[in-house]
């Protein structure tokens, strides 16, 4: 009697279970696709803007600086980059130090892009895949190929923030498994620690390097 009831129970709940499982499989990716699609669209838009920037670049430093700055401001999360790169020392910094650091790290990043600007020419980007990292971050992966085939192709992972009620922005670029933001953060922390935890020492060192 018990076995018959169990069998009939299994028969009854099986369609329900199948329905629930299929609903879950349908619902989850749809939610995931929302974030991923927004992040992928953001990267595609940034690549489009970068392409037209590169196409219209004639080597004029002032124009190039202006356009690169605009591009970075539009697509990158500078406030997030600023806080992340200062690590645990951000909280302890004074508001004057925070303001100064925000300016100086921005100059450092723009300077890095400008220094390597020529290397971006002749590259073609193709999207590979996207992976959601919780609800706030999407890892968008793509590949840069040299049109002439002289340089090896490079895999790039973009960390894109998808925070509620905030615009989608790029927080980090990972090139061949090396995160630019983590590298910057570890360098910054090393400088602060070798200067007995003084946040101001990092700002001074960065300013000195920029001025040199």
């Amino acid at each position: 009697m018990t076995s018959v009831s169990a069998t009939s129970l299994i028969r009854r709940i099986t369609p329900v279970l199948i329905l629930m499982t299929s609903l879950c499989t349908v619902v989850q990716p749809a939610k995931a696709d929302g974030h991923s699609a927004a992040a992928e669209a953001h990267i595609a838009a940034m690549i489009g803007s970068a392409k037209s920037l590169l196409a219209t670049d004639f080597g004029d430093t002032a124009t190039r600086t202006k356009q690169v700055t605009e591009l970075l401001d539009t697509y990158f999360d500078f406030p997030g980059i600023t806080r992340f790169s200062a690590g645990q020392y951000w909280r302890a910094a004074s508001s004057a130090e925070k303001q100064e650091y925000e300016l100086v790290i921005r100059e450092v990043i723009i300077g890095t892009v400008l220094r390597n600007f020529e290397q971006l020419k002749g590259l073609e980007y193709s999207h590979v895949t996207s992976t959601e990292k919780g609800s706030k971050l999407v890892l968008v992966s793509g590949r840069f190929n040299d049109i002439l085939g002289e340089r090896p192709s490079v895999l790039v992972n973009w960390r894109v923030t998808t925070l509620p009620s905030k615009p989608v922005k790029i927080l980090d670029i990972e090139i061949e498994n090396i995160s630019m933001l983590i590298t910057q953060k570890q360098e910054n922390i090393a400088i602060i620690r070798t200067n007995k935890g003084e946040f101001g020492a990092l700002i001074t060192a960065m300013r000195k390097k920029l001025d040199s």
């Binding site: 806080r83 992340f84 890095t112 220094r115 390597n116 290397q119 590979v128 895949t129 992976t131 990292k133 919780g134 706030k136 971050l137 890892l139 992966s141 002289e150 895999l155 992972n157 960390r159 927080l171 980090d172 990972e174 061949e176 498994n177 090396i178 995160s179 983590i182 590298t183 953060k185 570890q186 360098e187 922390i189 090393a190 400088i191 620690r193 070798t194 060192a205 960065m206 390097k209």
Partner: protein
């Protein structure tokens, strides 16, 4: 008879290089006291003071020797020649990859590396005759030790070799000692090619990464800590078989998770 004497001498050279490297590293480590944890700029780097001195030496050596040679190599040698040299260096590392993959139970990678070594051996690896697009993942003895759960040990900056952990340094020595290409090279021109391989590989690497390397060397505020960070991230990619992968490291995921937790 002559062949076996030459094989012996090659092995002796390999062992001497390995021994020299080990002695230098051991002296560097034993001759210095480790920094207390709260004085380190990175908890994995207890010998930072000495490591920074070795780094300064390596950078001087790079400035006066490696960088100019690498610059001449990348600008003077035709692309096809650079590609052939790159292929040969990759080919010479195949036995090590095959052996270490086999020890780690990565049968497919071991098989592919063996096949690649045998097929491309027809041209000493200078031409890539393999049509198979399946990537061969480089495996070294340091990765084998990591797979066997040998602890990573401290971070070390080794003269000429650059950044290592204690475990990866032992791995490098292990790879040098059990390098079968050295034994197979025998004598004559093959042996000369084999002896030149290490310095040529260094120049080839420096040439391939010329602009990125110079950017770190000349434009970083603290090139030492930047190199250390890049080394750990690259090594973690190799240990987790994530080279050229769309999977992020668990370490970086943790870093970003912690950041968002702090923010909320």
């Amino acid at each position: 008879m002559r062949h076996s004497v030459s094989m012996m001498s090659q092995k002796l050279i390999n062992a001497s290089v390995a021994f020299f490297t080990a002695v230098v590293a051991m002296l560097a480590v034993s001759g210095c006291s480790s920094l207390p944890e709260n004085q380190r700029s990175d908890s994995r780097d207890p010998f930072e003071t000495e490591n920074r001195k070795v780094f300064a030496f390596n950078m001087s050596f790079d400035t006066y020797v490696v960088e100019p040679v690498a610059d001449a190599y990348r600008t003077g040698l035709p692309r096809s020649g650079q590609r052939a040299i790159g292929n040969h260096i990759k080919w010479a590392g195949m036995p090590s990859t095959a052996i270490n993959s086999a020890i780690q139970g990565k049968a497919e990678n071991a098989g592919l590396a063996t096949l690649n070594f045998l097929v491309n051996g027809l041209t000493l690896g200078f031409a890539d005759l393999m049509e198979d697009e399946t990537p061969i993942i480089k495996e070294d003895f340091g990765q084998t030790l990591a797979a066997a759960k040998v602890p990573e040990g401290s971070f070390l900056m080794v003269p000429f070799l650059g950044p290592r952990t204690m475990r990866s340094l032992i791995g490098t020595i292990g790879d040098m000692v059990m390098d079968p290409v050295g034994t197979l090279a025998g004598s004559g021109s093959l042996q000369s090619i084999n002896q030149l391989r290490t310095p040529v590989a260094a120049v080839d690497f420096r040439a391939r990464t010329f602009d990125a390397f110079n950017d770190v060397k000349y434009n970083s505020i603290d090139p030492y800590s930047r190199v250390r960070s890049i080394y750990f991230q690259t090594r973690s990619g190799m240990l987790e078989d994530r080279v050229s992968s769309t999977i992020s490291s668990s370490y970086s995921d943790d870093e970003f998770d912690a950041f968002f937790e702090d923010e909320s």
